[in-house]
Amino acid sequence: MPKTIKLTKGLNIRLKGSAEKKITGLSSQQFAIKPTDFTGVFPRLQVKEGDAVKAGSPLFIDKYRENIVFTSPVSGTITEIKRGDKRLLLEVRIESDGKNEAIDFGKADPASLTKKEIAEKLLQSGVWTVIRQRPYAVIANPEHTPKAVHISAFDTAPLAPDYDFVVNGQGEYFQTGLDVLSKLSDGKVNLNVSKETKAKEFLGARNVTINIFSGPHPAGNIGIQIHHIDPINKGDVVWFAGVQDVITIGRLFSEGIYDSTTIAALAGSEVTRPQYYKTRRGASIGAMVKDNVNNENVRFISGNVLTGKQIRPDNFLGFYDSLITVIPEGNYHEFLGWALPGFGKFSTSRAFFSWINPSKEYRLDTNLHGGERAYVMTGQFEKVLPMDIYPLQLIKAILTEDIDLMENLGIYEVEPEDFALCEFMDTSKTEIQTIIRKGLEIMRKEMS
């Protein structure tokens, strides 16, 4: 048994409305692939409105890396190509014809293929886009050979889906996916599991190194895990993928098609029946949330409450997301709110009397609870960032755009999601994830 890596820093935010362990099939009509889900991609369209597509047909490619192809998750018709400011491509919408016809890429045993053949198959089918790299969390470059591959088999974020439950019954696909990844890398394929996991799909996985983690959020974040297993140095490239991404890879090789099926949880305090749904990448959440939300004034989030993207109720599940969260909006004034005893106010400090009841589940809204200020408090971020990194110093290095200092302070090892808890608890109410993203973008431009 490998040694457990115990993390003590961090915070579990207990929210109301976790998903019941029940899977309902969801047959959405509308789908969309959103280029904005893919950091650093400049899309070049391959289809126009009215075109018929099959599952696996190219929708758009990356202008600067033309072998990276983004394909349709279903068969049907392109209904709309939605653009935003400056003609930024926002969505390619597809209406399903319900037939689920898929392009046949051919079944294959990864053991019998070369690295090049495997990459070719993944690229052609569009499945390659599920493999991302650190630093920068962009889609992996097929010409690179990564130092290692990491897969996080658990998610510690608030209301996150339970991957033990998700992987159940898909063990063969998952193992095939792992076999594929192990052929792509010269280094180790790390499967990082929670100490609590009982899933034989994870614990019995072959061709991988299993690392066990315990501790509060963000222990499930891939960046935190990499930092503790084999940190990223300047010049290193590490690949990562999620559990369902590995399953998608496995299906491509076992079935020969791009099967975009994914399991997503619907959760949050405002959901009447929070549960799991079997759906596809990019599916409309409309059918999921219809008659299932008990409040008018809510926010729909693709992803979790710390890092997800706000979407409209007729919008689409993010490409990499396995969770839709619905929480109340906080657009209200609160009379002398900062001075009240605050028995029901969640805080990591003991500044409100909610510390009396530590195990309570909260219904948190989107109110900022204060105004933006200069950084005054210190030593707070360190409590929720289980990394050997000085968070405030790194943030300030980014704000001053000091490239050498950012590099020295470990910018390559972080992603905005690792700083989400810092942002959550920041007394000064600054947008730390936006700052970290900006820092990474500066570095990516500098290094390319």
Binding site: I327, A351, H369, V376, Y390, S428
Partner: protein, 385 residues
């Protein structure tokens, strides 16, 4: 409260850009956000946020100061009547204390907040809450008999020169409240040192020396003769600055700060350890009566405890890294005792020690962070080989 909210919403446009009272925007905003937590929601990043904000944080520090303030008010009265040899009821002492202390608090807040509001308006940002704390700290570190115009002048100096010229709250190098005190100390030494000032309207015949002054006399004398014993110094029934005398009241405040997570226990403990270490060292190498004063006396004399809990822990001017905080605090303790005992010109070493370490805090952080950078670079080398 809905009526009040409606009224605010009605007059709000007049304070916004293009409105009649555009110039008072920051002032309006400060009052509006004081009354109502804004309805602003998250737009980027984390969709939920911790309930804590700067107002809550700063008001907790003010709450933590209340035990020291209340004791100070009583003690001002107590010392006054004691010096006149009168025995009066508890409430008479409190009333006298209030009569002395309240005007100082009012002057400190009015001067400081007026300047803060003006700067916020000029710079087009929101009024920062930092002065809520500074405005209470300043009255607590001055002698009870200080002329009010001096309080006003020192506050103005601290806010403008100590803070705003650096860019306001969060950017200053020196602790503003201590800047005010240092300003008074060097500009008006007669009014803020010696034996006369520590008791309000002291009877001339009464000695009124603070334990620190008595101890300082020990440099040239055979022995140190304390009027008060250790317990009295701990409880605070001694002459001194308004809020600094009672170590007990200060420790209650420290408990509030540490429990709520607002104040840094690291700094407090390391300051105390630094003081004990230096005091102990001087005890061992003693050549005069002051050096013989038992090390634990330093913790309860003068402003040591107050500085340790409320001044050294100011997050803006202290070290920002956890390791840095330990070094910073320890050196404050060491320097405070060192200055007290070995430099008779400055009986109150705590103020100078903290200001000195405020200046060195960024340097300490620099080396702590540098160590982290070295670790990262070292990790990279074997990977290349």
């Amino acid at each position: 409260m809905k009526a009040l909210r409606k009224q605010l919403d009605k007059i709000k446009p007049q304070f916004q850009k293009g409105g009649k009272f555009e110039k008072l925007h920051s002032t309006f905003d400060a009052f509006e956000t004081f009354l109502f937590v804004p309805d602003k929601t998250t737009s980027h990043g984390s969709h939920i946020r911790d309930s804590i904000d700067m107002k809550r944080t700063m008001s907790l520090v003010v709450i933590a100061l209340i035990p020291a303030l209340l004791f100070g008010i009583w003690n001002v009265g107590h010392q006054h009547f004691l010096s006149h040899g009168e025995t009066v009821a508890f409430w008479d002492k409190v009333l006298y204390g209030l009569w002395k202390v309240l005007p100082i608090i009012v002057v400190s807040y009015v001067t400081g907040l007026a300047i803060e509001f003006a700067f916020a308006q000029i710079r087009h940002h929101e009024v920062n809450e930092g002065f809520l704390v500074s405005g209470m700290l300043i009255p607590l570190v001055v002698p009870p008999d200080i002329p009010l115009w001096m309080v006003s002048l020192a506050t103005a100096f601290a806010v403008i020169i100590g803070k705003e010229v650096f860019g306001g709250t969060g950017m200053n190098i020196l602790n503003p409240a201590l800047t005010a005190r240092a300003f008074l100390f060097f500009a008006y030494p007669a009014q803020i040192s010696g034996d006369k000032v520590w008791i309000a309207e002291k009877a001339d015949a009464f000695s009124g020396a603070t334990p620190l002054a008595e101890a300082a006399a020990g440099i040239s004398a055979e022995t140190v003769n304390f009027t008060h014993n250790f317990m009295e110094m701990f409880m605070g029934t001694i002459p001194g600055s308004i809020g600094e005398t009672s170590t007990l009241a200060i420790l209650i405040g420290a408990a509030i700060l540490v429990f709520t997570g607002v104040g840094s226990l690291r700094i407090m403990v390391s300051v105390a350890l630094g003081g004990i270490f230096m005091g102990g060292l001087l005890n061992l190498a003693s050549v005069n009566a002051y050096m013989d004063v038992p090390f634990y006396y330093h913790l309860v004399m003068g402003g040591f405890a107050f500085g340790m809990v409320f001044m050294a822990t100011d997050p803006v001017t202290a070290s920002q890294t956890n390791k840095g905080k330990l070094i910073y605090g320890f050196l404050i303790g060491v320097m405070a005792v060192l200055i007290r005992v070995l430099n008779p010109a400055y009986p109150e070493g705590m103020m100078l020690a903290i200001l000195l370490m405020n200046v060195f805090a960024p340097l300490i952080d620099h080396y702590v962070v540098e160590a982290n950078i070295k670790r990262r670079l070292k990790r990279m080398k074997p990977a290349k080989a």
